[in-house]
């Protein structure tokens, strides 16, 4: 199966808001298989959203389990995801398959609660924190037509906030 082509900025599709999904069928599951394969083919890709491949539906996949020292729920298929709770803020560095060769600092909520459907229409609620929460917020942004470039903060912002003393 070939991989899906990733739209890169300035493709106007990346600024488009995606539609809510209402059917959970084989065609959807087939698309998710392809989307996941495309995500895993990207170097270091831990998340992907359907609009990144030109399908403007509220579908995203996140899997940060390959990262060491990161708490995660493993592979998450997030259909119509809704973040219902945010807590704390943290600055971290992000990149995007749709914005090659650039990374920048973005403020995200440290902990979130997200509700979403899986590819079979099952409803779930996840409590996510840190790196995983960051990935989900990044993907949900894609569904709303937002890029991490819309949320960049000055690197000076994190001078003391990010410091870790033991």
């Amino acid at each position: 199966m070939p991989l899906l082509e990733i739209l890169t900025y300035p493709d106007p599709g990346l600024k488009r808001a995606s539609k809510v999904m209402d059917t959970f069928d084989d065609q959807l599951r087939e698309f998710i298989t392809l989307l996941e394969r495309t995500m895993r083919a990207g170097p270091g890709g831990v998340g992907i959203a359907a609009p990144q491949v030109g399908r403007f539906e509220r579908i995203a996949i996140v899997d940060v389990s390959a990262k060491k020292k990161v708490t995660s729920h493993g592979r998450l298929v997030l259909i119509n995801p809704q973040i219902t709770h945010w807590e704390g803020t943290v600055v971290g560095r992000e990149g995007c398959m749709s914005v090659p060769d650039y990374t920048g600092n973005v403020i995200r909520a440290e902990t979130i609660t997200v509700q979403a459907f899986d590819e079979n229409g099952g409803q779930h609620e996840y409590q996510c924190t840190g790196y995983e929460a960051r990935a989900i917020q990044h993907e949900v942004d894609h569904l709303d037509g937002l890029l991490f470039l819309d949320r960049l903060v000055s690197h000076k912002n994190d001078l003391f906030r990010r410091k870790k003393y033991k």
Binding site: G45, V46, G92, G95, M97
Partner: protein
Amino acid sequence: MASWYMVTLIGKDQPGIVSRITAELFKGGCNLGEASMIRLGVNFTIMLMAEFNGSAQALTTLMTPVTNELGLHLHLDSIDGKLHQHETMDVSITVYGADRAGIVADVTKELAQAGLNILELESSVGGTEEKPIYIMQIDGHATQGVALIEKAVEVIKKSGIDVGLNITDVMIG
């Protein structure tokens, strides 16, 4: 054929320098690459990559009226463009302490030995004239792994310098 130049400008800071300079370069047909502008003390400093269809002499001639008017010192170097070859930053180190000679050299020597390739370094002197404090932030790539940098930071800490290490795991999604 167009060539890339590193344009360095230094002078007394005043409002509007960046817009005047970049407008002049644009009118002269330059394509701008990456740039870094920072105020050091009361001094304006900028280094910017400019792609220009002509010689260094011609670029100097183009810029001289505006740099003279703004009282800026201009320096040009012929360089490789080579955009889109960024190294990924994976550690950032913050150092602060009472201002003292040798702090930058001491810290960077230890980090260099641990394989740190510095991508960005910025330092400021805060505090007061009587009691200055020194704050430095380094972003870099740990070419021999993060563990060696962690060790180096411990060594720096033992020498009495306040230092913090943040390991940056870039999230790509």
